[in-house]
């Protein structure tokens, strides 16, 4: 069987395609968009360099070694290079695949692997277990932060990140998943029915944001169905290189949501949205192509959806604020959604929109990057905060919980005045209760 052919020093399972690697013609258009290259000035920490290393592995000129693993994880997976690449090279996806290769080829010591598996395979895929306790200490463990504590040595992390992790925690509310009714009815003239994909971090840490998302959708004229049986989208597993668990979660969510008769599946988490849109590729060999395509087309970020159906502005209250917007990488680069959030923001009465410089430059959160590489993450964050400062806006809007945590923490530490709001909160503020 052709797929059994081993590509250089990659293992057969979850290997990249050689054609995808060859696609890179090394023009270097990615270089100025890469936050890690900008930090280090080191070619191996650039998309072009990382693809070249992967090519060396695929041609047997390099073992899949420690450096390859380091670069796979040092990559922020922000996908800015994907947007910048005229040749269509997916350096971010390639590094994600290399993370899966790392877990096969550079396995962790046994006890660490067992703990990682516990977090990724037992805790995260099980929403009930995840929500059983709301004690912050448990939550840390559930989110894998404790796992990181125990790994701090091998990840060469200093003690400073623990403070950061604590500082980043928002005040916790009841998890939303249990509270949201299975059906929240549309208000005013009904325009359709949507399913709501509620991300793990949203339900646990940003319950109020997602409550606003549902309120907004209802006010926009949509019935909202929130299936209780939904599970984690799989993004954390993908990020950590566990593609098998990702596939299992993907299969579960795919079947669950495709049983519903809805116009769209809406999410307010850019990370989840990006992962859900990748199911098509992830499950390509296992599922019916048409079903996957249909699922893909139904997945909509909240801003994408509202812009597409046309925002209903009747009844919206003015919000007299100057706002600026930080683009989550997993929205603008991974999903190509850049105009829509701005359209929605500008449509809210009373809002003055002020564009910031480098709005689509990563904030340095990048899943667990901000905890693994605290110093580098801080430098990327500072660049972002300076750009926020220059706008002198009243509020910083974003639409992804990872960015939200990082930015809120950063602004607080820098003693800046701007609060961070999710786009749903801003729109929710304008929407009558």
């Amino acid at each position: 069987m052709p797929e059994e052919i081993k590509l250089g020093n990659f293992t057969v399972k979850d290997a990249p395609k050689y054609e995808d690697i060859l696609q890179c013609m090394r023009c270097g258009f990615c270089l100025p968009t890469c936050p890690t290259f900008s930090l280090t000035g080191r070619e191996r920490s650039s998309p072009r360099g990382r693809v070249a290393l992967a090519r060396a592995v695929s041609e047997g000129r390099l073992e899949f070694n420690q450096v390859m693993k380091e670069e796979a994880f040092f990559c922020l997976d922000c996908r800015a290079c994907t947007t910048a690449c005229p040749s269509g090279v997916q350096a971010g996806s390639l590094m994600e695949i290399c993370r899966a290769q790392a877990s096969q080829q550079q396995p962790l010591p046994k006890w660490q692997a067992a703990f990682r598996d516990f977090v990724l395979k037992k805790m995260l895929p099980n929403p009930n277990l995840l929500e059983t306790s709301m004690l912050p200490a448990r939550l840390y463990q559930q989110l894998g932060i404790q796992w990181l504590v125990r790994h701090s040595k091998i990840l060469k992390m200093g003690p400073e990140w623990i403070n950061k992790a604590e500082g980043m925690m928002p005040s916790l509310q009841q998890p939303l998943r249990q509270q949201l009714p299975e059906l929240s009815p549309a208000r005013g003239e009904k325009r359709g029915t949507v399913a709501f994909f509620l991300g793990c971090v949203m339900t646990l840490m940003y319950a109020e944001v997602s409550r606003q998302t549902v309120k907004v959708l209802n006010h926009q004229g949509f019935d909202v169905i929130t299936p209780k049986a939904q599970k984690c989208c799989g993004a954390p597993h993908m990020t950590e290189g566990d593609r098998e668990t990702t596939r299992q979660l993907a299969k579960h969510n795919l079947d669950l949501f495709m049983e519903l008769d809805v116009d769209a599946i809406v999410t307010d988490c850019a990370g989840c949205g990006a992962a859900l849109k990748e199911y098509e590729e992830l499950l390509a060999e296992r599922e019916d192509q048409r079903k996957l395509e249909k699922f893909h087309h139904r997945i909509k970020d909240i801003s994408e959806f509202v812009a597409e159906v046309g925002i209903r502005t009747e009844g919206l209250k003015p919000v007299n604020k100057v706002v600026t917007y930080h683009e989550p990488c997993h929205l603008c680069h991974a999903q190509g959604i850049s105009k829509q959030p701005r359209e929605v923001i500008k449509a809210i009465p009373g809002v003055e929109f002020r564009e910031m410089k480098e709005a689509n430059w990563c904030c340095g959160s990048a899943a667990t990057f901000s905890l693994k590489f605290t110093e580098d993450s801080q430098k990327i964050l500072d660049r972002k905060l300076n750009n926020v400062k220059d706008t002198d806006a009243d509020v910083l809007i974003t639409s992804n919980p990872g960015c939200h945590l990082q930015l809120a923490w950063g602004l607080r530490e820098a003693k800046m005045r701007q609060p961070v709001q999710h786009l749903s909160e801003l729109l929710g503020e304008a929407t009558p209760d």
């Binding site: 013609m25 023009c27 270097g28 100025p32 000035g41 070249a52 005229p86 040749s87």
Partner: protein
């Protein structure tokens, strides 16, 4: 091979953080943007000052190691590939803009400053640095000088070399020279600065560059013309020039290129036309108005199927940006893109297009052609697969035949990308043994031991 002792000396000279010799760091400095070429160096050094470059040269000389300077590695003729190993001197950490002198209309920058950063910095002061190679977002100003890079605006504004006032350069013997200055006129002795421009890193390592600035045009207008035959587009270009109009930009893209670019940018370029011209006129508003009317007239007379104006600056910018992506976008459809840089007197454009069409058919190849039509500078690009030996052979035969014609028409084998490794054979055909011989003597005078960027410009049999 480099010894630990030499590495230690380098570390001592420039600091540990500016030297790397790990295999993975070196592998990724083995290439530039030229397909099919690579060679791994023994070490890489990132100097942060002219003195550091000087120190590196002394160390390399003592150790008998070759040195290859490098900017961003976006070159298209292999000029920064360390073909004989040794030390790569990567200048991208020398990235400070040192001065913008508004009284003398000059800007001085370290060699590793990104071209677009320099252009944007002077623009903030209300000044204009015109050279804009397609890779301006990544290329360094030092690299631009070394290749005498062109761009989209050369037709009216000229190339990088036309804007160089002064260069600071470390010679292979370790001496530092500054040639030229801020004076508008300077005929004191040989014009070394002109010798260094387009020397491809073989005569010295440039560390600082002073460029000439001009006031920006007050107004501009961008037009798009479609053609159902690429030869008609070529005719349009020479007709516009013959009508005594010098647009700032006259770029061409053929059908293959348009489709690849549109796949990436999705701005609604028509996929079924044979070619398009992107034309920009700039200057005083009254002149812009007059010129654009004349250009449209000529286009209609020659037989463009459609002519339209960019609605606003944003749309004009979008079109120019789309054009800059042409080469990289072609990599979407084929694993390898073999591009050339043939340049002809503009009156031969239509013939050149016809020849490209004929040869593509003869060698059974897919060729996408784009380029700076207004300069007679074309980039016919063979879409190929470097793993297919037969196809690569045909691709090289295609270019051999094409250059035969180009040289016959009084053209050149390289308009703006340099000779590097890729075009060594063609150079000899263009300038003959006498030309090669005098160039080699110049090289020898600067670098008698041949340590600086060896293996470039001259073919083996031409090397002494």
């Amino acid at each position: 091979m480099i010894t630990q002792q030499v590495l230690d000396k380098l570390i001592q000279a420039v600091g540990k953080e500016n030297v790397a010799s790990e295999k993975e760091d070196l592998m990724v400095l083995s290439y530039d943007a030229t397909p099919g070429l690579s060679h791994t160096p023994d070490a890489v050094v990132y100097p942060t000052s002219t003195e550091a470059v000087q120190a590196i040269i002394h160390i390399a000389r003592d150790a008998g190691l070759p040195i290859t300077p490098r900017g961003s590695g976006s070159g298209l003729s292999g000029g920064s590939i360390p073909v004989q190993g040794g030390i790569v001197v990567c200048l991208n950490r020398m990235n400070k803009i040192l001065e913008i002198d508004e009284e003398n209309l000059t800007a001085t920058a370290q060699a590793g400053v990104i071209t677009l950063d320099l252009a944007n910095a002077v623009l903030e002061k209300g000044l204009f640095y015109p050279p804009d190679p397609a890779s301006q977002k990544i290329s360094t100003i030092g690299g631009n000088v070394m290749e005498d890079a062109g761009g989209l605006r050369c037709l009216k504004y000229g190339v990088t070399g036309d804007y160089i006032m002064s260069l600071t350069c470390v010679l292979p013997d370790g001496n530092v020279i500054t040639t030229g200055g801020k004076s508008v006129k300077d005929v004191a002795g040989y014009s070394f600065k002109d010798l260094l421009i387009s020397s491809e890193g073989t005569l010295g390592i440039i560390t600082e560059v002073t460029v000439r600035l001009i006031p920006p045009p007050q107004d501009k207008r961008t037009m798009l013309a479609y053609f159902d035959d690429i030869k008609t587009a070529g005719k349009a270009v020479s007709s516009i020039i013959a009508a005594k109009i010098i647009p700032s930009t006259m770029e061409i893209m053929d059908k293959t290129t348009i489709n690849c670019v549109e796949d990436y940018v999705s701005i609604g370029l028509p996929r079924d036309i044979a070619a398009l011209l992107l034309i920009e006129v700039d200057g005083h508003p009254a002149v812009v108005e007059e010129d654009s009317v004349k250009v449209v007239d000529v286009l209609n007379i020659v037989g463009a199927t459609e002519v339209s104006m960019a609605k606003n600056d944003e749309e004009a910018f979008e079109l120019a940006t789309a054009r800059r992506f042409a080469l990289s976008a072609m990599a979407r459809v084929s694993p390898s893109t073999l591009m050339e840089d043939a340049t002809v007197p503009r009156s031969y454009l239509a013939e050149t297009f016809a020849e490209i069409e004929r040869l593509a058919k003869k060698y059974d190849l897919t060729v996408g052609t784009f380029g700076h039509a207004g300069d007679g500078n074309l980039h016919p690009t063979v879409l190929c697969d470097e793993r297919n030996a037969d196809q690569m052979k045909r691709a090289h035969a295609f270019f051999d035949d094409l250059y035969e014609k180009v040289l016959g028409w009084g053209g050149t084998v390289s308009g703006e990308h340099g000779i590097g490794i890729a075009k060594k054979d063609y150079l000899a055909r263009q300038i003959g043994p006498g030309g090669v011989d005098v160039m080699k003597r110049i090289k020898q005078a600067f670098d008698p031991d041949g340590i600086l960027n060896p293996g470039k410009i001259f073919a083996e049999e031409q090397e002494s």
